[in-house]
Symmetry: C2
Subunit: 518 residues, 2 copies
């Protein structure tokens, strides 16, 4: 058995069955070993950012890691942005990077680079494996590190000679990755949270793993019993939503408004969320969003059992759960396609148990409200702010869950990782892509005003607009093998969405919105 | 004047007039400053790898740096692979990365990351600029570092508050970047090279900046006077070629054959090139390519004046230059489109003074030989092995030179950075893209055999093939705004190439080759 086989055996024995791959020469032994380990399925991606984003999507909807296989330093760098998003989502992901043979590395061949430095910036776990006898152990350590808790990106860099080298018999046992347990919440924090919330003017900020229907229901019980507010972080990793699920308010993206949203709070209890800060800094705007004097209680940070924390508050307060009230779902819209009618079209047509991968940005501003009463679904969002996440995550979410994914994708963001469309077609994944086309980086038009960077001249405005030449997004999708439709009105979007949900496999809808911010 | 304006003024005063940009919120002040500094032209790229590759292409054909503007850690990571290629080409490139405001960074907002670690892996120059008063100085230092010699990637990370902060009057003078000089070649090395080459069984390996027509001619004079061989490194950064230019043999990519190519040498003099090593390691194949006992003489490594080194050898040997013999150009082919007829079609139709950006990989195997007698042109290749370089480099080369670029692009490689097509259309660049479609990662089929990774099973083979679903490359190109044609035969390719050269602006030709290795 060679090192590559030991790696795949160890992944398989620890429940990792999917490997999103963009391999090169230094990974050829892993590729060959896939023929001998059918329990691990290789899924080809045409760009590394697709492979890493897919692994993130897989982890978010299953809670279990997938592997991503990439080629040397450039491969890891190409996958880095979506690993950054995975890191911010606390997704367990195992990245395998093939490296030069140990004796080849010092010769500084063209593809030689400091892979460790690139991996270190992911602030997860990383290790360089130099010899075949260590591959199985290092792989199990990587899996254990990825699971956490909290989940993280584990990067295992394997030298080519470790991959093709023979594993000694005494090192060929496949190890089990140990699983660490969540920590208990701190009793003093629980008392502080109970006291604070009971005083009034309090809120619970939920995030991380605390956004499933059950924990939302516990949090709702606490909030009702203390007349506190229930707020969800701006960019949840994965969240239950829709009919029968508690509908918290969402922390507003724009700091100016978020400051206003939180201004009356005396207590803010954090469950799975961090203390809220602005996405960016803006001149004259505070970066910390909770008001001065507000007691911010980090009751369940990453790695602490959020269900226990919520249960302890429920017990201490004698709170009781309630069935969330029904929320009206919009009817299918007609007429012009706008950000408002788009949101209604999505909400009105959504089938049960869809996963929404939301990278709609400015075009999606009305979606969170509109879909609150839709059938049960899960929402996956851009945790790390590195755009190009939506389509890759949709690949992994569809593959991991077996459910339909609705990928809501702004045109600007879509152009970062369009290669994901090809893997959707190749694997015949049930993904509905709605491309929200406003032919601009509309968010930046807004951000330019917010940072006080003056009025728009022609040179600067041209860096924010995508209309010259116009992108033919449907042609792009068809080029990647995905059938595509243009929706110019709300009526057409409704028809296209319904047809897509009724048709197995991927489909692509360009939703033609008014240009720019609207 | 704010820091962003100081940055642009300093770039402009030091001759940097083009900025390939994919900005975000933290770069909005730079974008706004473009309205006030019209001497610097912003060129929008839809993915950071396009911006950095374009800056590399610009530098290779002009010798001067362009700037690339990217957004925080994920932006730098997305641009990293093409910066790695630029690093290996010794291209002077200035990368400006916008970072969070200094006071915002410690709050660990979603986009916060260790940008310095990602930059450090480029092994060039990098600095974090924290305050507006230092921006101009740091920018000048970045430009100086980028120029070298040798040229390198200089990464300047600018905090948002340094960019929007006011520059004190006493710090507002625009500094000139000092320019370092090339080092003189070492006299002892010159003596060793003369002695070695004069003994026979010698070769000169040329690379780096030693590949313009004049230095090739000097090297040819030395080679003829000593009956030495003249060899060019496998992946030149930029090289004069064609009628009237000396035509050296090329170091073979496959180590097994390169070892054979060099086996008879007693002396190998390096001018602008490094000691040759295998691109990858292979079991049982040496990584060093020069034979044991061969005296490898590093006469002009990076940073040493290669023209002086060649001149010194010419003088010492009393060598004389000669006009290179004419090499026959193939006639335009007819019939089936194969890698051989494709090379003949390119060679037979090439106009004067084209820049060829070659990322044709296995499909381009016959090109180097076929084009030796074509009209004068320059060849730009994949120096760092990080694929996805060809289309972005074509953008920068066309913009920097004002000449027609012929981008020869394998279908697998094309899919890494297809967004470059849009910038070609937007800027109406004279670029002819020929996509060599063989519907596979053919190089990996070969590499799998070479590393001894067994025969192909279905699972592994599926990771090397791009035919399911088929990519419609012409649809992709049209989606990005570039007119596209499919060439199914050599005749059709010849017609499409000629039409393309006669038509201003970009055009895209899919050359449909036989599937896989051929």
């Amino acid at each position: 058995m060679n090192g590559a086989r030991a790696l795949l055996d160890t992944l398989s024995a620890n429940g990792i069955t999917t490997c999103f791959a963009n391999p090169g020469t230094s990974e050829m032994h892993f590729v060959a070993a896939l023929d001998d380990v059918p329990a691990v399925r290789g899924v080809l991606c045409l760009f590394e950012g697709v492979a890493t984003g897919a692994a993130d999507g897989y982890a978010r909807v299953t809670g279990s890691p997938a592997a991503a296989l990439v080629h040397l330093g450039p491969g890891l760098a190409n996958g880095w942005a979506n690993l950054h998003n995975a890191r911010r989502a606390h997704s367990p992901v195992v990245v395998v990077v093939g490296d030069h043979a140990t004796y080849h590395a010092p010769l500084d061949a063209p593809l030689q680079s400091d892979i460790g430095a690139v991996a270190s910036a992911l602030e997860g776990w990383s290790r360089h494996c130099d010899v075949a006898r260590d591959v199985a152990r290092d792989t199990a350590d990587a899996v254990a590190a990825a699971y956490g808790p909290p989940g993280r990106v584990a990067t295992l860099v394997v030298a080519a000679d470790a991959s093709w080298g023979e594993v000694p018999v005494e090192a060929s046992r496949v190890p089990r990755a140990p699983r660490a347990r969540l920590a208990e919440p701190d009793d003093e924090m629980i008392r502080r949270a109970v006291t604070g919330l009971s005083r009034g003017r309090g809120a619970i900020l939920l995030g991380g793993d605390a956004l499933d229907a059950d924990r939302l229901s516990l949090a709702d019980a606490i909030a009702r019993s203390t007349q506190s507010r229930l707020i969800v972080e701006t960019f949840p990793a994965v969240m239950d939503r829709g009919r029968g699920v508690v509908h918290p308010e969402r922390l507003i993206y724009l700091s100016e408004f978020a400051l206003d949203q939180l201004r009356d709070l005396d207590t803010l209890v954090l469950i799975g969320a961090r203390e809220p800060v602005g996405f960016f800094a803006y001149p004259q705007v505070p970066s910390r969003l909770a008001p001065d004097g507000c007691d911010v209680v980090p009751l369940a940070p990453e790695g602490v059992d959020s269900a226990r924390a919520l249960g302890a508050l429920v017990d201490a307060l004698g709170a009781t759960r309630a069935t969330p009230p029904d929320i009206e779902t919009p009817t299918a819209p007609t007429g012009a396609l706008t950000t408002a009618s788009l949101a209604r079209a999505v909400a009105a047509t959504l089938p049960e148990d869809v996963i929404i991968a939301d990278e709609s940005n400015t075009g999606g501003v009305h979606l969170y409200g509109a879909t609150a009463g839709s059938p049960h679904h899960r929402l996956v969002t851009l945790t790390g702010g590195a755009i190009g996440f939506g389509l890759p995550v949709a690949v992994g979410a569809a593959l991991g869950s077996g459910q339909r994914v609705l990928a809501l994708e702004a045109d600007g963001s879509l152009l970062y990782t369009p290669q994901a469309l090809w893997t959707m077609a190749r694997e015949n994944l049930d993904v509905t892509v709605v491309a929200l086309s406003n032919r601009s980086y509309a968010i930046l038009t807004l951000e330019r005003q917010r940072v006080g960077a003056g009025s728009a001249g022609a040179a600067s405005q041209r860096l924010l607009e995508l209309d010259d030449p116009p992108l033919d997004l449907c042609a792009l999708a068809r080029g990647m093998g995905v059938p595509a439709t243009l929706a110019r009105s709300a009526d057409e979007l409704v028809v296209a969405l319904r047809r897509s949900y009724a048709t197995p496999g991927p489909s692509f809808i360009e939703a033609r919105l008014p240009a720019g911010l609207s």
